[in-house]
Every structure is written in structure tokens, then in C-alpha cells.
């Protein structure tokens, strides 16, 4: 597979503050690549350097072989960008906006088809101000795709959306990728990255902590699964801590939490059953990207939907 975006040792400072510190990653043709990290980690600045909106202080950036600073004119024709903060005029109608933006390109997509794809066909004559948050985002995504870009950068597309609108947006992204567009998805929402991304660059305080598949990041972090239950009868810690799968046992009141790896659940319940102990309220927590982030950076990623707006 060809590399369509190449970022090497990218540096960016705002005054005294270093926002990007030697950031490197590559995006392969046809993948959904996640730029994941908490707010203020430098994600948006990084993709702004990709789209030519910001000048890097150091390092090299190539998008489809083009330098975003010196070959910006050519880049504009092959790169679609959905900016986090960008809105439209309140009275601009959906169909009007798509038709107008299509006229910027020499070989645009059919805007009516695109309007259908993003689920706005019945909103063609609705003014922008009357659209819901999810509809505005889907229109914004459509505008980023109207020029048939080979690569699309989508920045925080689901921030502030309700769960249903978020799932609609996710399905849309998958449909777009199925159409052959490489997607760079900026998000601080780990569930989104886990669900959509083939690979993820984990951003932390202006650095890339790791680049891997979501599963690879979880595995690499050695984050452990946990089994939580209330035993029906008392038992000695030794009963479980002697199992090879178990790394740690913590009691909180009547609650027992066991951390470990491998077939942890099976090992624990089998050992308890042999001693006539039933595990009530049993829950299993698998490590997530969130856990991986904590393990890799020592910080919490957070799933809070903090809207920068």
C-alpha cells in the first residue's frame, strides 16, 4: 500500500509554547487514520499543517507527494478538509451550498448524489441555521468531499452530537472510505477511534506517544482485564492469587476485583466453583483505548464531550 500522508519530525511553536514536538506518522492509502488525544494535545495544529493552513516551524509534511506550503494550489484540488469551527451563512440552503462548493472544482462529485449519501436529500431547501447539529456536521463532511478528494481530513466531526447522530456520522465515514477516500480523523473520543480507525496516532502533549491499530495499542499497553464480583461466601485471597492468570486482587467492602490476563474469567469462576463460591454481580472489564492511553502516557484521555465551541 502506498503512503499518502507522510509527516516527519514536525515542530510547531506558538510563541514560547511548543505545540508539536517532533511529530511523525504516515497514513496509508484507503485507511481511516485516527489522530487521537485529549484537547490541547496538538491534534488540530497537526492537521492544519497537513492542509496548509499553518506553517510548520520544522520537519517535513507531504500529502499525496505535495508540500502543503509550496504546492498548496495543487493540494487544494485533491485534499478535502472539514474544519472544526467552520460554519456557513445562516441563510445559505443545503442544496445551494453543495452546488456552490461543487463549482470550485473542475471535476466535482454529483452534489445531488452526495446530498443523498449524507442523508440530507429532504433538507435541500433548508437554511443552514435551521439544521440540527448532526445535519450541519454531515453537510460539512459533504462539502469536504464535493471535490472528489483522494484524502479527507475530518476534525472532531462528532463533538457535541447526540449518540444517534454520532452513529449516523460513523456510518457515513465508513461509507466514504468504502468509496476509496483515505480519511484522517481527528478525535478526542476513544470510542470513535476504536470503532472507526484502522490505525491511530496517539497524541499526548504535542508528541506522538504511539502509532498502531487500536487493538495493537491496547495489547502494547499491557493494560489488564479486570473481573469484578460479590462472592456468595467468604474465601481466602490465596485461592485466586495462586492462579497464573491472576496478577492482583483487591477487596472493597464485599466487592472483589481481580486483575490479570489470559482466560481470566474462566480461571476465576472455575476456582470459585470448586470451593462452592458463586460470583454474584459478575462483570468483566476489557481494556480499552482509554486504558491504553493511561498506560502509555500516565494521563487520562477522558471520554467527556467537551465542546470547544
Amino acid at each position: 500500500m502506498a503512503t499518502v500522508v507522510q509527516v516527519e519530525r514536525l515542530h510547531k511553536r506558538y510563541g514560547e509554547r511548543t505545540v508539536l514536538d517532533s511529530v511523525s506518522f504516515g497514513v496509508e492509502d484507503g485507511e481511516i487514520f485516527g489522530v487521537l488525544g485529549p484537547n490541547g494535545a496538538g491534534k488540530t495544529t497537526a492537521v492544519e499543517c497537513l492542509s496548509g493552513l499553518r506553517r510548520p516551524d520544522g520537519g517535513t509534511v507531504r500529502v499525496l507527494g505535495l508540500d502543503p506550503r509550496t504546492e498548496r494550489d495543487r493540494l487544494r484540488r485533491v485534499l478535502g478538509v472539514q474544519l472544526q469551527e467552520s460554519r456557513l451563512a445562516d441563510r445559505m440552503r443545503v442544496g445551494e451550498a453543495l452546488d456552490l462548493y461543487a463549482s470550485f472544482y473542475s471535476e466535482p462529485a454529483d452534489w445531488r448524489e452526495l446530498m443523498e449519501l449524507v442523508g440530507l436529500a429532504d433538507r435541500r431547501d433548508t437554511p443552514y441555521a435551521k439544521l440540527s447539529g448532526g445535519q450541519k456536521q454531515r453537510l460539512s463532511i459533504a462539502l469536504a468531499l464535493i471535490g472528489r478528494p483522494r484524502v479527507a481530513i475530518l476534525d472532531e466531526i462528532t463533538t457535541g452530537l447526540d449518540p444517534q447522530a454520532r452513529r449516523d456520522a460513523w456510518e457515513l465515514i465508513e461509507a466514504v472510505r468504502a468509496g476509496g477516500v483515505t480519511i484522517v480523523l481527528v478525535t478526542h473520543f476513544m470510542e470513535e477511534a476504536e470503532r472507526l480507525c484502522d490505525r491511530v496516532a496517539l497524541f499526548d502533549a504535542g508528541r506522538v506517544a504511539a502509532v498502531d491499530t487500536p487493538a495493537g495499542l491496547v495489547g502494547r499497553s499491557a493494560a489488564r482485564q479486570r473481573v469484578v464480583f460479590r462472592p456468595s461466601a467468604p474465601f481466602e485471597d490465596r485461592l485466586l492469587t495462586e492462579l497464573p492468570e491472576v496478577a492482583e486482587l483487591v477487596r472493597t467492602g464485599a466487592r472483589v476485583e481481580v486483575a490479570g490476563s489470559g482466560e481470566l474469567l474462566h480461571a476465576v469462576t472455575a476456582a470459585l466453583a470448586r470451593h462452592q463460591v458463586v460470583a454474584g454481580d459478575l462483570r468483566v472489564h476489557h481494556p480499552t483505548l482509554d486504558d491504553a492511553f493511561v498506560a502509555l502516557t500516565g494521563r487520562r484521555l477522558g471520554t467527556e464531550q467537551e465542546s470547544p465551541r
Binding site: 487544494r76 469551527e85 470550485f104
Partner: protein
């Protein structure tokens, strides 16, 4: 080319969907008719000594309209486009944000010229003023005045952080400029020093030059130079300070 045509068509529709243009055309018309009709409707037509006063009133109305477009419409529209990051979005497409800016300035100029024609035509029909002595000169002066006031509007848009701030600055600037150029109080009744300062404001210079074009009096060079000076100096500052995002 299709892009520019389409952009102009869409921006025109957007402008017409907002009632601000109606307000911009209506306010000066209302002022002109409100003060002018009582004279025009007096039995036997306007007394001869009132005619020059009515002509001066029409020029006042044209000046108000120019001020509203330049100091209110232009900065608010442009600052809103920046605030909504529309200029920024355009800069990621093959269309340039400068294209949108140019189309907006063109449409605002069209609005100002429509207002001029409306006011002059209405005055000739309803107020009995007849047509200006030098219509081409009046149009030329108007375009120069538009350049001067639009430059100020552009500078407001350049420095205002939000559309609301741009609107506020425009209104704050409009009233003193309108007062100094004698739109609120006849210049003859103003303190001499203020009236003299007024001659150096863009609206005051426009008013003097437009009055000369209307009455056929000798055209003084100074007001033209003042308007051109604003257009060039303030325009350059606006370009220098304009932020696309």
C-alpha cells in the same frame, strides 16, 4: 469563471434574504421624504427659496445611505464571514477567500448605487428637484465616496474580533461622522471649527463634492483628494491588518 458567477448569484440571494438591505434603502428614503414632502406638497409647489434646500436634503440622504452601506453593511458582513470561519474553509478549496471578499464588496457597491438612483429618481418625481446638473460627475463622486467609506468598513472588519463588535464599531463611528459632515445639523448652524473638521471626514467630503455635482457649481479638488486619500491610506491599512481567520 462559473465559480465567480455562482458565488455572485449565491451571495446576492443571501443578501436579499436578510432585511438589512431594505433598512439601508429605506432609512435615507424616509428621511428625504419626511423632510422634503411638506415643502414639495405646499400649494403651488415648493417656494423657490426652498428648492436649493430640498436639493441639499437629497444629497444628505445619499450621504446617509453611503454611510450605512460602508460603515454598517460592509464591516458586519465581512466580519461575520471571518467569525464563522467561512473564509478559512474557502482557503482549503480551490476558491480563494479573496474571491468572496471581492464579490461582497461588489454587491455592497451595487446596493449603494441602487440607493443613489432610487433617491435621485424619487426626488425628481416626488420632490420636484429635477435631475442633477452633472449626473456623470455625481456618479463618479459617488464611486469615489464609496471607495473611501468602504475602506473604513474594511478596516473595521479587519480589526473587529467578531461580527457583533464590527457592527458596534460601525455604529459608533457612524454617528460622529454623520454629525461632523452636517447630516444631523446643517453645517451653517454648527460651530465653525466642527464644520471645518467635518470637511475632512469621508462623508463630509463626499457631501461637498456631491452638492457641487448636483448644483453644477465649480467642483473643488480638495474633497476629491480627501476621499481618494481615505480610500488609499485606510484601504492599505485594512489590507495590512486583515486577518483571514
Amino acid at each position: 469563471m462559473t465559480m465567480l458567477l455562482k458565488l455572485t448569484a449565491v451571495e446576492s440571494r443571501l443578501m436579499l434574504r436578510d432585511v438589512a438591505w431594505l433598512f439601508t434603502l429605506g432609512v435615507p428614503l424616509f428621511v428625504m421624504l419626511g423632510f422634503g414632502l411638506p415643502f414639495a406638497l405646499s400649494p403651488g409647489g415648493p417656494p423657490p427659496e426652498a428648492v436649493s434646500g430640498i436639493e441639499s436634503l437629497v444629497v444628505t440622504a445619499v450621504t446617509i445611505a453611503l454611510g450605512l452601506v460602508g460603515l454598517y453593511m460592509v464591516p458586519t458582513a465581512l466580519a461575520a464571514y471571518r467569525e464563522k470561519a467561512i473564509l478559512r474553509r474557502l482557503s482549503t478549496t480551490p476558491a480563494r477567500p479573496a474571491a468572496l471578499l471581492a464579490v461582497q464588496l461588489l454587491l455592497q457597491l451595487v446596493l449603494a448605487v441602487v440607493s443613489l438612483v432610487l433617491l435621485v429618481g424619487t426626488a425628481a418625481l416626488l420632490l420636484g428637484t429635477g435631475l442633477p446638473e452633472r449626473p456623470a460627475a455625481l456618479l463618479g463622486v459617488h464611486l469615489l465616496g464609496a471607495a473611501g467609506t468602504f475602506a473604513i468598513g474594511l478596516l473595521i472588519a479587519a480589526v473587529a474580533p467578531t461580527a457583533q463588535a464590527a457592527n458596534g464599531i460601525g455604529v459608533l463611528l457612524y454617528f460622529p461622522l454623520a454629525f461632523l459632515s452636517g447630516l444631523m445639523l446643517p453645517r451653517e448652524q454648527m460651530p465653525a471649527a466642527l464644520a471645518a473638521v467635518g470637511e475632512f471626514t469621508p462623508l463630509g467630503a463626499f457631501r461637498s463634492a456631491a452638492e457641487a455635482a448636483w448644483t453644477g457649481a465649480d467642483q473643488q479638488v480638495l474633497p476629491l483628494v480627501i476621499m481618494a486619500g481615505y480610500a488609499v491610506a485606510v484601504g492599505a491599512a485594512a489590507v495590512r491588518f486583515f486577518r483571514w481567520e
